[in-house]
Subunit: 347 residues, 2 copies
DNA sequence: TTGTACGCGTTATCAG
DNA sequence: CTGATAACGCGTACAA
């Protein structure tokens, strides 16, 4: 169709008006070669102050912005980090990548961010798309990836950090905590608080289920009781929590015991519903959330929950990745960031 | 004499197993040239089924992932969209880019996302960094950018969409609403509800201030009263809201009237503090938030607030950008997405 | 349907 | 300190 555009560009090695401005353009203006411009930008100490000045001026008047695409191709370094998270609107993951991004950005890396929606198949496609941009490293959420994804990852030959979970067989680096451990710890906690019954309210994602199951199994071992559960396939919401408690009460006749929720949001919903039913908290019904979000401590009564330091986690992921990028062959590194049960007033 | 390809492959220094696999590699394996591989990938219909199969096999066994960096350089299309938001952990912006990303991703675009932290100088650096990767378009938050940033943006000659605010002089496309209009509307609303006094609790960012000032000016015009205010330079938080009300009461002797907060989070804090002081809501103290976040409707009493449809906004931004990318010369497009006051039980 | 030649805008490697 | 020249891996004419 419009070959005019192409032509004008091909023809433009000398032209500049509106045409692309490259290092050659700058060089011409400053009376040096393109290579010198490149050096001036990457290592100013290697060019004479005089030419440096002229180059600066040329850049200033043209508004030249170096083409990092060409740079990446030539140097085989993209200064790009690929990151894949389940959802960017989920504060858990948003705050982890945020913490992760800061040190990376300081080192000159940019972040290519995509959302997998917790779908392994979709994640695989995203990994392929990201890998095609030749990132210098990749940040993944969780430890479960399709076989094909793993293969591509290994083949890419770049550092990989898997966060928010732990495994004995990481692709490369792994920074997180054991979700099942957290579930068991909560079970022990509520059992020691004297509760004889328990229930769970959980989102459908794999890690939430793992916490829930670990909790249920441990609590069952401890008390012999069976543990009713409400699971959402959709994403967690406050109203979901309210409905969950209603179902627990109306369908499972659960009117006394501890309720372990897979997120503070769900816990908040359960709390709201419990209050509207004027249940005694934590006397008869105890509620435990997960995540220790900002609002948790301000609810009435303040929410007992499980805290994982997402800032630390993200920073640790960055630190380890940076080391690997720098050449340190720290394969199969595992870092357990742990968790803390924050006892407040709902349990 | 241009046997570059052969040379480069033979030359592969340290030639080990993990040598880079390119389209040439695939071509060799499939018995075709590099171009045919390129075509097979971009337009399968243009190669014979037989070669297509052989190429597929070669790709399969090598785990080849096309190099989009080289592709972008050659085609002058990066299929990359640059996005700059104040903060990724702010649900307002996270949900807008999320909505924006979906249609973009569907069209094959990837998102390069960075956080400016509401700092214009930092934003300028980010814009430069992003522009160096030659994105096909750019998504910016807000309408205030440094002169240098504007210059670079104009020079980049790519579609630009500015969201979450409105101006008569957009760089290119603009999708948002008038913050001052929202502030005035809230002033009218509380005035009509019969309040004779008002106060504001606001974060320090420019748009929040604009809403606050419009509110204050209008309310002052309407009632002649002066409007005490608490402003945070730090990011808004629930505890900030609590402190704000304390200050309003203790320092400004504000015990009756409407309080317009710059976010639901701050409003929640004010609400919590008001309840702990057992103030009559909305009888004596009315509280209006901003954002209509998920939790707003579930608070007790449910929070009256201002809603802006961020999903619509993000999608609209994507739609318009896509059109511009497709060649539509819709310069200086403005789209007012509007806002709604959601009356609930705090005002 | 397939291939050749070349350019995209840098960095890397040598020379000078 | 500066400059040729060759990659980097792919798309885009144009030919065959």
């Amino acid at each position: 169709m419009d070959t005019q555009h192409d032509k004008s560009i091909k023809r433009a090695p000398g032209g500049k008006s509106g045409g692309r401005v490259t290092m050659s353009t700058i060089g011409k203006l400053a009376g040096v070669s393109q290579v010198t411009v490149s050096r001036a930008l990457s290592d100013p100490a290697k060019v004479s102050p005089a030419t440096m000045t002229r180059i600066r001026e040329a850049i200033e008047i043209t508004g030249f912005v170096p083409n990092a695409v060409a740079g990446a191709l030539a140097s085989r370094k993209s200064m790009l980090i690929s990151a894949i998270v389940p959802s960017i609107t989920n504060i858990v993951h948003a705050s982890m990548v945020q913490a992760f991004s800061i040190p990376m950005r300081e080192k000159g890396y940019e972040i290519l961010l995509s959302e997998s929606g917790l779908d392994a198949e979709n994640e695989e496609k995203l990994i392929a798309a990201h890998l095609s941009r030749r990132p210098d490293a990749i940040y993944l959420t969780g430890i479960h990836h399709s076989p094909q994804a793993r293969k591509m990852l290994m083949g890419a030959d770049i550092p990989v950090v898997e966060v928010w979970d732990l495994t004995d067989t990481p692709i490369d680096i792994c920074v997180g905590f054991h979700h099942s451990q957290a579930g068991r710890a909560v079970a022990d906690f509520v059992h020691q608080s004297g509760h004889k019954r328990a229930a769970t309210v959980s989102a459908g994602d794999e890690r939430a289920r793992r916490r829930r199951d670990a909790f249920s199994n441990r609590f069952a071992d401890l008390t012999g009781s069976d543990i009713p559960t409400v699971t959402f396939e959709a994403s967690a919401s406050l109203s979901g929590g309210r409905q969950a408690l209603s179902r627990l009460i109306d369908e499972d006749n659960f009117t006394e015991g501890a309720i372990f929720c897979s997120s503070d949001l769900l816990a908040h919903g359960v709390l709201v519903e419990a209050e509207s039913r004027q249940l005694d908290i934590p006397g008869k019904v105890a509620i435990i959330g997960f995540g220790d979000q900002d609002f948790a401590q301000h609810l009435h009564p303040a929410l007992t929950t499980v805290r994982v330091d997402r800032g630390d986690l993200g920073r640790a992921a960055a630190t380890h990745l940076l080391k690997r990028i720098a050449g340190e062959p720290a394969h199969n590194a595992k870092l357990d960031i742990g968790f803390t049960i924050i006892k407040r007033h709902t349990a």
